[in-house]
C-alpha cells in the first residue's frame, strides 16, 4: 500500500503543467524507466542510441531539449511535448548531459 501515494506523486509530477519546479525524482524515474524502454535502463542504448554524456556531448541543453520535446521525424524518437512541460524537458536535457550522479 505504501507505494500508491508515491506513484500518484510521480504521475502528477511528470504530467502536471505550470507547477513551480520539476520533480527531480519523478523525472529521473521517467528517464530511466520510460526513455529506458528504448535507450536502456542505464541509457547505454537499445533499439534507440546510447544517450550517456560522452555520446551526446555535441548537444547543448537547448538543442537536446528540442529533441526531447519534438522528437526526430523519420526515426522512432517520439515528441514528448504532449506529456511533459518545457521546464521538465529542460531538466531532463541537463540531467542527460551531466549524467546521473
Amino acid at each position: 500500500m505504501r507505494s500508491v501515494p508515491a506513484v500518484l506523486l510521480a504521475l502528477s509530477g511528470a504530467a502536471g503543467a505550470g507547477e513551480a519546479a520539476p520533480d527531480a525524482r519523478a523525472l529521473a524515474r521517467l528517464v530511466h524507466q520510460d526513455c529506458g524502454s528504448c535507450h536502456g535502463i542505464t541509457l547505454k542504448g537499445g533499439l534507440g542510441p546510447d544517450i550517456r554524456p560522452a555520446t551526446i556531448a555535441h548537444h547543448t541543453p537547448e538543442s537536446l531539449k528540442s529533441v526531447i520535446l519534438d522528437g526526430i521525424p523519420g526515426t522512432p524518437m517520439p515528441p514528448w511535448r504532449p506529456l511533459i512541460t518545457e521546464a521538465e524537458a529542460d531538466w531532463i536535457a541537463r540531467y542527460l548531459l551531466e549524467g546521473p550522479s
Binding site: 507505494s3 500508491v4 504521475l11 524507466q33 528504448c38 535502463i41 547505454k44 537499445g46 514528448w80 506529456l83
Partner: protein
C-alpha cells in the same frame, strides 16, 4: 572424481537419509519473475501463488527474457548487458554465466534443447551457445541490430535485422550454420513471432503500417505483406514504447496484433492474412496475449496509459472487462491451461494474480520492479 563424488553422495544419503518426497519440488508449475532493477529473479509456485526464493547476481535485467530447458530444470536468462545466465531452479542457484556481448535483447532455445541463441544489438548479430556448457558454438554477425529471434523446428533459428529489413534463417542441424537471407521485410521491423506449429513467422514493422509474414514450410519463403497501411487516414500517435509480438495471440483462427501508433488491436485471419476486425483500446497496446484456450485476449498499454489491462472477448471482439492493477503494468503470463493470469505492476512493486473467469484478484506477490513473468510450461512450446 566421478567415483569420489558418488561416494560423497552415498555417504550423505546414508547420513541424512535419501531425499524424501516432500523435499522434492517438481518444476512443472513453477515460474520465474524478472526483477529488472536489482538483477534478480523470483522463483514462484503457481499452485501455491507464492514466492519460493530469490536468485541474485544476474546483472542488468532491464528488458530481460528467458527460455527453459526441455526438462524444465534450467532457465537461460538473457540480460540487457549481454549476460547469458543459466539458472538451476531445482537448486535455486546460478549454474553458469557468460557475458557474451555488450548489449542484447533476447534469445531462444533450439527444438532439441541443445543450443541457446542470443540476439544482440552490440555487436549486432546472433551468437549460439551449447546449452550444457554455455560455450559458444556459432557466431553469426549481421552488421545490424537483430530483433525477433525465435526457434523453428529442425534446429533452426529465425531472426530479423532492424536496420536492413531482412530476415535470416539459420539452420544449425549440420556442421556449420547454413544461412538463408530474405530481403524486403519492410522498414524497421521491431519484433516478430512464430506460430506454435513453427510454420509462420510474422515481423511487425515500426517504419510503416503493416506486418510481414513468411511461410517457413515453403522451399523459398517469400515476404507477404499483412495489413499494409492499416492506419491510413489516421495520424499515427507518438510511440513511447514498442509493442511486443512474443506472447502474440492466436484466438479461434485469428491473429490479434497490437497496432503501432494507434489505440487499437487488429484481427487477422491466420490462413489468409485478411483483416477480420479492429478493437478500440484504452491506449497503444504493448502485449495482446491470448488466454491459452483462445477465448479471451488480455491487453496492456504503453506509457503513459499503462496502469490498466483490458480483456477482449474473441467471439464479439469487444472489451468485456477492464482492470486497474496499478502504475506500469509490464507483462502478463497465463497458467498453462489459462485459469489464472499473473500481471506484473512495476511501479507498485507487485505481481497480481487474477482468476480469468471472474476477474477476481486472488493474491498479490511483492516484487522489486517486476517485469517479465515466465512459467516453465513455456519449455514445451515452439517460439517461447
Amino acid at each position: 572424481m566421478r567415483r569420489l563424488a558418488a561416494a560423497a553422495i552415498l555417504a550423505a544419503a546414508l547420513a541424512g537419509g535419501a531425499a524424501r518426497a516432500d523435499e522434492i519440488r517438481a518444476t512443472g508449475d513453477l515460474g520465474l519473475i524478472v526483477e529488472r532493477e536489482t538483477g534478480s529473479l523470483l522463483l514462484v509456485d503457481q499452485s501455491e501463488r507464492a514466492v519460493i526464493s530469490r536468485i541474485e547476481g544476474l546483472g542488468d535485467l532491464s528488458h530481460a527474457s528467458l527460455v527453459y530447458s526441455p526438462d524444465q530444470r534450467f532457465a537461460y536468462v538473457f540480460g540487457r548487458d549481454g549476460g547469458l545466465t543459466k539458472v538451476d531452479i531445482v537448486t535455486q542457484s546460478v549454474a553458469a554465466r557468460v557475458i557474451q556481448a555488450g548489449n542484447s535483447i533476447g534469445g531462444a532455445i533450439s527444438d532439441d534443447g541443445r543450443l541457446v541463441a542470443v540476439s544482440n544489438y552490440e555487436p549486432g548479430g546472433v551468437r549460439v551457445f551449447d546449452a550444457e556448457t554455455l560455450n559458444m558454438v556459432a557466431d553469426i554477425p549481421t552488421g545490424s541490430k537483430t530483433i525477433g529471434l525465435v526457434d523453428a523446428p529442425g534446429r533452426r533459428f529465425v531472426f530479423t535485422l532492424w536496420d536492413e529489413g531482412e530476415t535470416w534463417i539459420a539452420d544449425l542441424s549440420g556442421e556449420t550454420p547454413a544461412i538463408t537471407r530474405i530481403g524486403g521485410i519492410g522498414e524497421y521491423p521491431y519484433d516478430a513471432l512464430i506460430t506454435g506449429d513453427g510454420r509462420t513467422y510474422v515481423a511487425g514493422l515500426f517504419g510503416e503500417d503493416g506486418l510481414t509474414a513468411l511461410d517457413l514450410w515453403a522451399e523459398t519463403p517469400r515476404p507477404v505483406r499483412v495489413l499494409p497501411g492499416y492506419g491510413r487516414g489516421d495520424e499515427p500517435l507518438p510511440v513511447y514504447k514498442m509493442p511486443h509480438l512474443e506472447g502474440w495471440a492466436l484466438a479461434g483462427g485469428e491473429f490479434v496484433l497490437p497496432a503501432v501508433g494507434h489505440h487499437e488491436v487488429l484481427w487477422v485471419d491466420a490462413a489468409t492474412f485478411a483483416e477480420t476486425g479492429r478493437t478500440r483500446t484504452h491506449g497503444q497496446p504493448v502485449f495482446a496475449m491470448s488466454r491459452p484456450d483462445g477465448r479471451q485476449v488480455w491487453v496492456n498499454f504503453a506509457h503513459p496509459l499503462n496502469d490498466r489491462v483490458q480483456i477482449i472477448d474473441t467471439l464479439t471482439k469487444k472489451v468485456v472487462h477492464e482492470l486497474t492493477p496499478g502504475a506500469a503494468v509490464l507483462h502478463m503470463e497465463f497458467t498453462a491451461r489459462g485459469h489464472e493470469v499473473w500481471v506484473s505492476v512495476r511501479d507498485a512493486g507487485k505481481v497480481v494474480i487474477y482468476d480469468t473467469r471472474t476477474f477476481e484478484a486472488l493474491a498479490e506477490i511483492e516484487a522489486v520492479s517486476p517485469s517479465g513473468i515466465f512459467f516453465t510450461a513455456r519449455a514445451h512450446r515452439t517460439g517461447l
